[in-house]
Subunit: 367 residues, 2 copies
């Protein structure tokens, strides 16, 4: 959809305010000059100015050029999209902690949190417009459809995204975990080939699995180190809120003649259900099946066995995203950045070299 | 704080609209008559009418009595206060499901959810005022302070509360679980006296434990069946988000010379941490310590061992709360109501009679 001339004038001025090109108390050009600048009619400019005044961004005075209104608080919109998955509030909290920490040295900004999943994108965009927001940090893309983006883009605010699946043309901060996966592979010393089982924590639909960076990188690692690939048949996925069906799926895979001996959990949050399936099948971890996971959620240390997991360092992602947005607001350039994930070795996949643990064969004999 | 005359007139008219005394299209009395009815000045009445018009509840026309505006949707405000505890969104969801099911036969109402914990009570009260709400269902009291109540009461809308700790003078729906506790006690056949450990899932502060109906009823059950009482020393409580400290507290209690042999978890959500502490201490459940819990959260079936738990039947609480509110809106009387909780026996505290399981002594020998 092409922006209307009114929207174009409005969002350009809004952007200049957001970026600090126009500062509190500054006057805009006269209406006549604005018409010239934007190559548009007086009617269009006046409509755009009226909308900006309604948003509280400018003050209109008779016979004077409009003035940028002073604001008590400049805000930063923090967008997330929790669909209230078990464990997942903790997940989002860690990003938020990193972001809030970065803004502690910038009391002129107040971070306001918006949930796209519960409020809807139109309402969020409207709220952001009213709130004197100067920039947007969005946690992930996968929850945003074309309409979300349209609404947000029309605000004309600088945006920084986080998450492992970067979108072209945006500033994106994420964690690089191929090195962490290689570190895991080096500890994986089976007597036979690994037989993988990839457990997706939420039903994205098989067609989307390929778009999951976690799945993609895990596949690359297995290919590189062991010459194997993950087939459709090696994947189970949890539909939202149906853990019993998920347990049944895992149980079925654990009963296969070529039983998996390496399980990869897309997120720690499915650890409890996975270990319950293992327990019911009479299998031991890590003796019969080695398990590693992603996310390093707090609960991963309490499962029995405790989960070896790849820590994506969400607080650091949040801190860097905030820093990048502050740079953009300062007029400095900012580009997409990756930082390193870390493996946390725990009981489900112990670190052979560090703990001098012996892996056992499927018969339970020490190797 | 005493309500101003303007607020008094405004909230009385608002209440009449909410209760259906004044219906869509009805005309109010003339300003002159309203002055007489409320014993107040024309200025006060006009201010009140202006506010009602701004809220969109009435239409003002020159030389005519104000008219009640037609609305597309009558709304019901559903208040909750999730502080994003692990597992707890599932907890609230079940209430909401019961409520939404009850309103399915009443398409004239739309249920709107407000979170007191994240939005604050003033903002919630303001939103409710704008949204043509006709009644309020509040999930629990414990999150509401005096100010919350003042804001909500000033709205003059009928309210129904849920939760096991009823407040005097309100319509309250809750689950009655003393019978469920007695059922558990009858299965509890220790060779020696039970030594209890009560684990609170959230740090309410020891002083508030006594106000927890779960704790109070459990104490009554232990007194009645075994002649013992729970002392301060038999309680551990989890501070928000600090599961490691909670684990350490439990571990310390499990090391006592008079080791607990009966653990009561205030909510299933602390099951994983509790069982981890048990595992690390080398204790078996239920052989060394019997465990039961409250809430019947979905995750309780996946812990190892699976949790015996008291199901407070939150969906039923929600359904009854909605039904009571619909009754009030219909002009029928409604009083506080209790419905029965149910015990779900699982591995952590098996049902002796049903499963013919034998309890073992602390030495692990079958009794």
């Amino acid at each position: 959809m092409k922006a209307s001339p009114v929207t174009k004038v409005k969002s350009n001025i809004q952007k200049d305010i957001a970026l600090g090109v126009l500062r509190e108390g500054d006057r805009l050009e006269s209406v006549r000059n604005l018409c010239r600048t934007y190559g548009t009619s007086k009617d269009t400019v006046c409509k755009a100015l009226a909308e900006l005044a309604k948003m509280g961004l400018i003050e209109l005075e008779a016979r004077k050029a409009p003035r940028i209104r002073p604001w008590k608080e400049k805000r930063i919109a923090l967008l997330y999209a929790s669909k209230t998955e078990i464990f997942y509030d903790t997940f989002w909290d860690e990003y938020a902690q990193g972001i809030l920490a970065a803004f502690e040295g910038h009391p002129e900004y107040k971070v306001e949190i918006f949930n796209i999943a519960t409020s809807g994108s139109t309402a969020v965009a409207e709220a952001i417009e009213k709130e004197n927001c100067r920039g947007i940090i969005s946690l992930g893309y996968q929850y945003f459809d074309r309409d979300n983006f349209r609404h947000l883009n029309e605000l004309g605010l600088p945006m920084v995204f986080t998450g492992p699946d970067p979108m072209e043309g945006t500033v994106n901060i994420c964690s690089e975990f191929s090195a962490a996966l290689n570190e895991i592979a080096e500890q994986l010393q089976f007597p036979e080939q690994p037989i993988p089982l990839y457990c997706l924590h939420t039903g994205t639909g098989l067609k989307n699995v390929a778009y999951s960076e976690k799945f993609y990188q895990t596949g690359k690692m297995l290919q590189k180190h062991f010459g194997i690939s993950i087939s459709k048949d090696d994947i189970v996925q949890r539909e939202y809120d149906d853990d019993l069906a998920f347990l049944a799926q895992i149980t079925e895979k654990l009963r296969r003649r070529k039983r998996p001996n390496l399980a990869i959990l897309d997120s720690d949050c499915i650890g409890p259900v996975f270990f319950r399936a293992l327990h019911d099948a009479g299998l031991r971890c890590p003796e019969d099946i080695a398990v590693f996971s992603f996310d390093n959620l707090p609960a991963a240390q309490f499962t029995i066995p405790a989960l070896t997991t790849i820590d994506l360092r969400r607080a650091e992602t949040g801190r860097l995203a905030a820093q990048h947005l502050l740079d953009i607001l300062d007029g400095k350039p900012a580009t997409s950045t990756q930082h390193s994930a870390a493996v946390i070795f725990r009981e489900s996949f112990p670190q052979k070299t560090a703990h001098h643990k012996k892996y056992k064969t499927n018969n339970g004999e020490a190797k």
